[in-house]
Structures are given as structure tokens and as C-alpha cells.
């Protein structure tokens, strides 16, 4: 009999305690963050979408080599002497640019956001931004192109570079021939003899 009344008392008191708690919660501040309109502050070292400041890029390809999933694709063209790469020909830190970068793509569908590409960059031109909402309907839309060169420009520069390379090769050949002729005309150097002996 004692247990019976104790049960009733416990049931009523615990229900009343529970109800008072829920009633108090009704007037408390809401904890919901209304996401699209309201955003949480991102952590200090967050890793999100990559960005390349192509003006500073020297086309050294180190980021592409560091990438564990090879999502960075870079093509370069050697600059002909006298040609200015980009707007000024130098990076913002004053380093000389010797390569055109006609193709610099990052496939963010592949990217694993490891940030390993950021550290090797000598000019600090590739870095993580705070953009994290870039879902698309097509996977191809996640292929980001960063170069500032048009395809026509690229073709033109490549042609120039090729011509220059051929020219240089010819020059080299000539120089080599001349050197060979000189070598043939001149007496054999002493060190060869030393080796034989």
C-alpha cells in the first residue's frame, strides 16, 4: 500500500517537473541558425575552394606535383626574350616571369582540400578562399579555369616559342658544329692523355 501511494506521488511530481522544464524552454532564446540567410563564422584555418592569382603565377608546376589527387593541370610556354609575360612581366614581389601559363585548371570535383598545393608555391599565388557553397548541377562545372590568356593568344605564343626554339636549336647546332670543327682543328687536350695513361 505504501508503494502504491509512493508510485502515484512520484508519477505526479516527475510529470510536473518535466512540464515545468518544457514550459521554461518555450520562452528561451532559439538556437537555430537560419542557414542561407545567417551563417556561422568559419574557423580561422578553414579549407575551402582554391583560388589562383594568375598574375603572380610563374608556372613552376610545383602545386600540380604536390597534389595527391592530381586535380591541378598546368601547361606552360617559354617566353621569348623581349616578350612580357602577363601585364608587367614580374610577380607582385618582383620575381621575373619566364613562362606563359595558357592552361591552369583545378578540378574541384577531384580536390580533397588537403591544402598541400598551397605550401610549395614560391609566390603564394594559390590559396584557400572562404567560399564553400559552389555545388552545381553538372560535374564539368566544377572544373575551374584560372588563366587570363585566350586560346588564340596561347596558339600565337606557342608558335613564337616553337620558332624561337627551332632558331635556338639551329644556333646551337651551328655553334656545336663550329665547336666540333674547332676541336678537330685544334690539338687534343692534355687531360685525355692523362686518362689513357
Amino acid at each position: 500500500m505504501k508503494v502504491y501511494f509512493k508510485n502515484i506521488y512520484q508519477a505526479i511530481s516527475s510529470i510536473l517537473i518535466g512540464m515545468s522544464i518544457t514550459f521554461r524552454h518555450m520562452f528561451q532564446k532559439k538556437v537555430t541558425i537560419m542557414y542561407p540567410e545567417q551563417k556561422l563564422q568559419l574557423p580561422e584555418r578553414e579549407r575551402n575552394r582554391l583560388f589562383v592569382n594568375i598574375d603572380d603565377c610563374i608556372g613552376c608546376d610545383q602545386c600540380a606535383k604536390a597534389c595527391p589527387v592530381s586535380c591541378i593541370d598546368i601547361e606552360t610556354i617559354k617566353a621569348v626574350p623581349g616578350d612580357i609575360v602577363g601585364k608587367t612581366g614580374t610577380t607582385s614581389q618582383g620575381k621575373k616571369k619566364a613562362l606563359f601559363v595558357p592552361k591552369f585548371t583545378i578540378d574541384l570535383a577531384k580536390c580533397c582540400y588537403c591544402q598541400l598545393c598551397v605550401f610549395p608555391c614560391p609566390t603564394e599565388c594559390i590559396y584557400m578562399t572562404d567560399v564553400f557553397e559552389f555545388s552545381t548541377f553538372k560535374r564539368t562545372d566544377l572544373l575551374y579555369e584560372f588563366t587570363d590568356m585566350t586560346p588564340e593568344q596561347a596558339i600565337e605564343k606557342r608558335k613564337k616559342a616553337d620558332e624561337y626554339a627551332i632558331e635556338q636549336a639551329k644556333k646551337k647546332e651551328l655553334a656545336a658544329k663550329e665547336a666540333a670543327e674547332k676541336k678537330a682543328a685544334a690539338p687534343k687536350p692534355d687531360n685525355n692523355q692523362k686518362k689513357e695513361s
Binding site: N7, I15, T22, F23, H25, M26, Q28, K30, T32
Partner: protein
């Protein structure tokens, strides 16, 4: 109201057809907005803002949008289901609840029909919805639905008893079963309400603890009859998926939902009429302008909505009972205590 309509139309039949229209409109609007209230209150209790996209921050248009969405949905008939019973079941459930509304006195001028056996009629008619539940569960050809409906029947049939016993206390004091008479007897302010002993001399003070207990028992057992948490073993999402509702979609699902929410108000209405003065103002004749027929609507619906709020509040506070606990509560606690109350009230009346 009856006489007024009879004067306008001069025809019994038209009058009878017109009387239930406001009742029906009230039930539909109430059921729609009770869903919103449920969602909002549950959200507030969990420190969330709740529905706030449709119709501003309050989400006031949410029920309409929900209803439109559900109207567009396909009505699915499960393979090898019992077709007739399956289609009829939700309407039977809703019908039982809606018929219960007929005797609920909203005001001294408005009651669907003032039967002299009103309370008895209410308990008889609301039991029809159990039949709908069993039909739905059986015909769905799904074991979870069947479990749900069997639980429902066991639960509601057992909880009819404490409901009737608790209501009997008031019936004994009032000596009537007519809902309108219950309300009229409690005139003259809060001290004359049946929860405080009803009209009578000073000796009625002895009755107060028993009548408060009876009101509590009536509230608990009608809560169980309305299949609300903590007695929602019929639905029990985490145990038997959704019980009877499991196979239903679209408008039929809505019928079940409407029945549940309408039942909430119906049982609150009965509780209010029996124990809390019905449409009487708590100030009685002291403040006459609060006791006009139109203010009586406000009092009655206000009191009813308060109990609906308590039901929602309980739902988001308490966990669900186990089946054995449910039966234990009914047979070991509610019925003996209700018996003691009846005994005490009877003794008082005899002496």
C-alpha cells in the same frame, strides 16, 4: 439559435441542415491550425523557431499549404488489402469524432443538438472511431498496422471505464446527462463550477479533493482515448512505424490526423463542460458583459484550447508508456481511484 433559425427559414429540415455548418467549419479550421500549433509549440519547447517560411515568421499559411500538398497526393491501395474496409476506415474514424461534437455546448445559444442523454451519447459515439481504427489496421494487410489497431482497441476499451467513472461523479451531483444543463447549473462564477463542488452550501468543500481527482482522471483517460502521447501506442513511430496510418497516404491520412486533433478538442470540451463551467464566465453575474451569449463562445473555446495546449505540452514532455504500464495505469490506478471518488461523492449525496 434554434428558434432564430426557425423564424428565418420556417422549415425544420433547413434549420437542421444549417445548424451543423458552423460546427463543421470550426472542426476543420481547428484541426488545421492545431497541427500548426502542435508544430510551433513543440519547436518552442525544443528552442527551435518552427515553421516560419510560409506566411511570415508565424507560418500562418502552413496548414493551408500542407493541406494542398496532401490533396494532390495519390491514394494508395496496398496489394491484397481489403478494399472496402480500407477506403471506409478513415471516414469512420473521423465520423465518430465529428458526431461527438454534436452535443458539445459552445454557448447558451449554440449547441448542435441538446440531447437529454448527451454525455452518454458522447461516450457511445466516440467509440465508433475505435472501429475505424480496427478496420484500417486489419484491412491494410500489414502486420504493423494490425499491431497498432489491436493496441488501440485494447487501450480505448479499457480507458472507457475510468472516463465513464470519472464523469459519473458530476452526473451524480447534477442529476442529469444533458450537456447544456451541466453548463447552466454552473452559473454564478468560479465557485459554482463542478470542480469546486458545484452549486450548494458550504459543506460541498468536502467534495473538492474528490472532484479534482475525478477531473484529473477524466483528463488522463480522455487523453488516452484521443491516442495522444504519452498514450500514443497506436501510432508509436519508433515501435510499429506508424500503426494504423502506415499504409495510408494523401487525403485518407489527413482524415486520421483530423480525427485525432478534432478528438482533442472534443474531449477537452467535455472536460470543460463537466468540471470547468462550460461556457460560463468565471466571474458570473458580477461582470455581465462577459457573460453574453457571444462571450460564452470565447469562454468555452478558450477553456477548450487551454486543455488542447496542455495536451500538446504533455506530448512534448513525456515519453510513451509501455503496453503493460498503460494497462497497469488504467486498471491499478485510475479505476480504483475513480471508484473511491464515486463512493465519496455518493456518500455525501446520500447523507
Amino acid at each position: 439559435m434554434d428558434k432564430f433559425l426557425l423564424d428565418i427559414f420556417g422549415n425544420e429540415l433547413i434549420k437542421d441542415l444549417i445548424i451543423p455548418i458552423p460546427l463543421f467549419a470550426f472542426v476543420i479550421v481547428f484541426a488545421l491550425y492545431a497541427v500548426l500549433a502542435e508544430r510551433k509549440i513543440s519547436a518552442f519547447m525544443q528552442n527551435r523557431p518552427g515553421p516560419n517560411r510560409v506566411g511570415g515568421r508565424t507560418g500562418i499559411l502552413q496548414p493551408i499549404v500542407d493541406a494542398l500538398k496532401l490533396l494532390q497526393k495519390e491514394m494508395v491501395l496496398p496489394d491484397r488489402a481489403d478494399k472496402w474496409l480500407y477506403w471506409i476506415a478513415p471516414f469512420v474514424v473521423f465520423l465518430g469524432t465529428l458526431m461527438g461534437f454534436a452535443i458539445i455546448p459552445f454557448s447558451s445559444i449554440y449547441v448542435g443538438v441538446d440531447l437529454n442523454i448527451g454525455l452518454f451519447y458522447f461516450f457511445a459515439v466516440t467509440s465508433i472511431s475505435i472501429m475505424g481504427m480496427l478496420m484500417g489496421g486489419w484491412s491494410s494487410n500489414n502486420k504493423y498496422s494490425l499491431y497498432g489497431s489491436m493496441r488501440s482497441v485494447a487501450q480505448i476499451v479499457s480507458y472507457e471505464i475510468p472516463t465513464a467513472l470519472a464523469a459519473l461523479n458530476v452526473v451524480m451531483i447534477a442529476g442529469t446527462l444533458s450537456m447544456q444543463k451541466f453548463s447552466e447549473m454552473q452559473a454564478g462564477g468560479i465557485q459554482n463550477w463542478f470542480i469546486l463542488g458545484g452549486p450548494g452550501g458550504l459543506s460541498k468543500v468536502i467534495l473538492i479533493p474528490f472532484l479534482v481527482t475525478a477531473a484529473l482522471i477524466l483528463f488522463i483517460s480522455t487523453l488516452a482515448e484521443a491516442n495522444r502521447t504519452p498514450f500514443d501506442l497506436v501510432e508509436a513511430d519508433s515501435e510499429i512505424v506508424a500503426g494504423v496510418h502506415l499504409e495510408y497516404a494523401g487525403m485518407q491520412m489527413v482524415m486520421f490526423l483530423f480525427a485525432e486533433y478534432a478528438q482533442m478538442f472534443a474531449v477537452s470540451g467535455v472536460l470543460v463542460t463537466l468540471f470547468l463551467g462550460g461556457w460560463q464566465s468565471p466571474f458570473g453575474e458580477a461582470v455581465p458583459f462577459l457573460n453574453t451569449p457571444w462571450m460564452q463562445f470565447v469562454w468555452f473555446i478558450g477553456k477548450g484550447l487551454f486543455f488542447v495546449f496542455v495536451m500538446i505540452w504533455l506530448r512534448w514532455t513525456l515519453p510513451r508508456l509501455r503496453v503493460d504500464q498503460l494497462m497497469g495505469l488504467c486498471w491499478k490506478y485510475l479505476i480504483p481511484i475513480a471508484m473511491v471518488c464515486i463512493f465519496a461523492v455518493g456518500l455525501y449525496l446520500v447523507l
